[in-house]
Amino acid sequence: MKPFDVIVIGGGLAGLMAAAVAADNGQRVALLTYGSGSLPLASGAIDFLNAKAPDVAIKNLPAHHPYKKIGLKACDAAAKFFVDIAAKADLPYNGRLSAQIPIVTAVGTLKYSALVPESMDASNLVNKKKIFVVEIKGLKDFYAAMIVDNLKKIFPDKTFEVAKLDLNLLGGRDITCMDAAQIISVNEQILADGLKTLDVGDDDAIIIPPIFGLEGNSSRAAIKSQLRAEILETTCLPPSPTGIRLQRAFIKYLQSSGVRIFENSKVVRGVVDGKKVTGVVVENSVREKVFPARKVILATGGFYSGGITMRDFDQPREPIFDLPVFFPTGAENWSNEQLFSDEPQGFSMTGIFTDESLRPIDESGEILFENLHVVGANLGGSDFVFERSAGGVAISSAYKGATS
């Protein structure tokens, strides 16, 4: 096998983005992944930081934070590149780093993110007169009445109406948003006709579960063109159509740029020559296969995805290159008792420390491999969940790693 210019390990958000950036720079890229990553579970909204102006907040972070290594310039470029890729796959996104956009969650609260799918952008909700929340017969886990109750707390002056549509989804298994989206992608008209029965005016909005198809924007566009009111999708329980659309948009882009995607390919080791990585080793059921590379991007995620593992307490490991993993010492710093609290969790700060090109470093700050770049959730030094930066760190580190 001829060496690839770049091998990306991991097909989550960070890996997909890194592969896209590298391919866009004209490099011959392979993406190796084991499992499909967490995008099908996610909303597709990209959080940079939970702050009114994420770019300002990034400037004020401590030096060990991944954003400080990445730099604001790369963050900005990453956001633009991301929106551009999505648009090329007919999946419009709105947003920038200087402000946040609200989206409506499955329970009727508002959540703010830097980059959001256009179909979820709830910025204009404040200007609407009446808001219809549409419940679909037979669709699991979507409760319009609850959404209305919660939205009323945010918008006490507006009129709300719960509307029920029967799109003939019953028969067969319990229908999830993914199933409904699949059905609607083949027959948009059933949803368009259903929505047309509502008595909506130009100044009203319709909120629906995320069921505008599983690819691109064509189902939404076809339905939108028949209605005057704005229609918004909420988030939902996984599998999540809005996350699936984003994943498919990336995969489509990678395929059209000639990136080779190898599924079911678990990387177990690197092939190294001094401070250079020359390839990676994939293990299959009976033997090993070497994929040679000039540069490797490690996008294997955190604890959840196996990018960082821990057999013994206090000894987290990075299993492929055996990179040193930073972790807060002492059990008292490890976690706070309340799992779902508003304090950061020590364990989620765990991860790999890097230089400004995102190459892994040891305790003394020495670079361990010259052509290995660490991107995404396996970076140490921040609690992505607490500070709501997972998506932003994933795409901006991927951009930096792929361009360094």
Partner: protein
């Protein structure tokens, strides 16, 4: 080696993340199937009993897209197949199921009669026209795969092999033996060109893949035992077993061990290679004969699901590209046929719906030839698009002159 072996122990690793559901082509095609997460790990974990059978299990095609999506190493599809076997312990098979599971037996019967292949093919033509297949529960829309006038195992003895010295044993697979012997010929030519004499072991059985998916697990186990024993014999002699059929190689390398959890299957698996996997290993060792005419074709490559599972990269694409071919992957998902799944009357529509994206891609005709390593994928592409694909080894064989 891999922690994905021995399916039965993998169900408990399920995190209910739903990634498998997002990737199951059957779920996308129909509303009836409850999907990999619920049918495989969830149901399989709690009940491996005959009384409690998941009613929609029959819809699983064993395409293994779920296994590839799973981040936790759950052998979802094999859990489904084990449960299916449990079901058939107390439920009779239909005549159609018996037929599609036992292609090897039918092939042998045909070969025992004079002009057997001709008559069988005429018979199948009549069967189709008269609607007999449809009455039996087979997909009347399809042509049954036509028998070649001479099966590969007979044709083989007439081939003058040029190589001496190094040897491999070819596991022919039923489809290549009975229906596409030209793929076998191409295989021999390529191996010869690389200094390998090709041996045939007439003691091998069908790999058992069609038996497993149709719930004949005990029979499949007999095939597995026989094949593994023979592979181990060859292993002792230092002779590798190589197959140009992707579903056979997956079965021999991985599924025997997943299904039956005996160490000998793993030991046998170590001596089995997919054809282009083997060639790429030769290339890495600097032993590949690259005295090849430049291949100037533009090839559209449908990568079979069962190849994607094997984690061996894309060796056919790599090798053909090295000699000048322009290889583009079709990237259109599962072809829908999944072995004998698409031959069932009640699964035909699902199978065609799954394949629709691939057929559209192929019909764009922006290439010289479609290639795919899997025989049933090739059949499905031909049926759905009218364009006949070939095995990548046929392209390589033609380039060795």
């Amino acid at each position: 080696m891999s922690d994905k072996t021995q399916a039965i122990f993998t169900g408990d690793r399920c995190l209910s993340c739903t990634s498998c559901m997002a990737n199951c082509p059957v779920m996308a095609a129909i509303k009836d199937y409850r999907g990999p997460k619920l049918v495989g790990p969830a149901h399989g974990r709690m009940h491996f009993s005959q009384e409690d059978i998941e009613a929609t299990l029959e819809f699983c095609s064993n395409c293994k897209s779920c296994d590839r999506a799973c981040p936790s190493g759950v052998a979802v599809s094999t859990l489904n197949m084990l449960q299916r076997a449990e079901y058939y312990k107390t439920h009779p098979h239909t005549q159609a199921e018996d037929m599609i599971a036992h292609g090897e037996r039918a092939g042998k019967m045909v070969r025992m009669m004079p002009f057997g292949a001709t008559f069988a093919n005429i018979g199948m033509e009549f069967g189709k026209t008269l609607g007999i297949f449809s009455k039996l529960g087979l997909a009347g829309e399809r042509d049954m795969p036509a028998y070649a006038s001479t099966p590969f195992k007979d044709l083989y003895s007439r081939i003058k092999q040029t190589a001496g010295g190094k040897k491999i044993v070819m596991f022919t697979g039923c489809f290549i033996n009975d229906n596409e012997p030209q793929v076998g010929e191409a295989f021999v030519k390529v191996m010869n060109a690389n200094g390998y004499e090709v041996l045939i072991d007439k003691g091998f059985n069908c790999c058992g893949s069609p038996l497993v998916v149709t719930g004949y697990l005990d029979e499949a186990k007999q095939h597995a035992d026989n094949n593994a024993d023979r592979i181990l014999e060859w292993k002792k002699k230092g002779i590798p077993v190589v197959t140009p059929c992707t579903s056979c190689s997956l079965m021999l390398k991985e599924e025997y061990h997943e299904l039956f959890a005996e160490h000998k299957f793993h030991e046998a698996a170590e001596n089995v290679y997919d054809a282009f996997e083997f060639l790429e290993i030769l290339q890495e060792r600097g032993e590949f004969n690259d005295n090849v005419k430049p291949i100037s074709q533009k090839l559209l490559y449908h990568v079979p699901c069962h190849l994607k599972c094997q984690a061996i990269g894309l060796p056919a694409a790599n090798i053909l590209e090295e000699f000048g071919a322009n290889v583009q992957t079709a990237d259109a998902g599962c072809c829908g046929i999944s072995g004998n799944y698409g031959f069932r009357k009640d699964k035909y529509d699902i199978s065609m719906k799954i394949g629709a994206k691939l057929f559209e891609r192929v019909k764009r005709k922006d290439f010289d030839k479609v290639i795919s390593d899997c025989g049933t994928c090739r059949m499905q592409i031909h049926h759905g698009s009218g364009i006949k694909p070939c095995h990548p080894i046929e392209i390589l064989a033609a380039a060795y002159q």
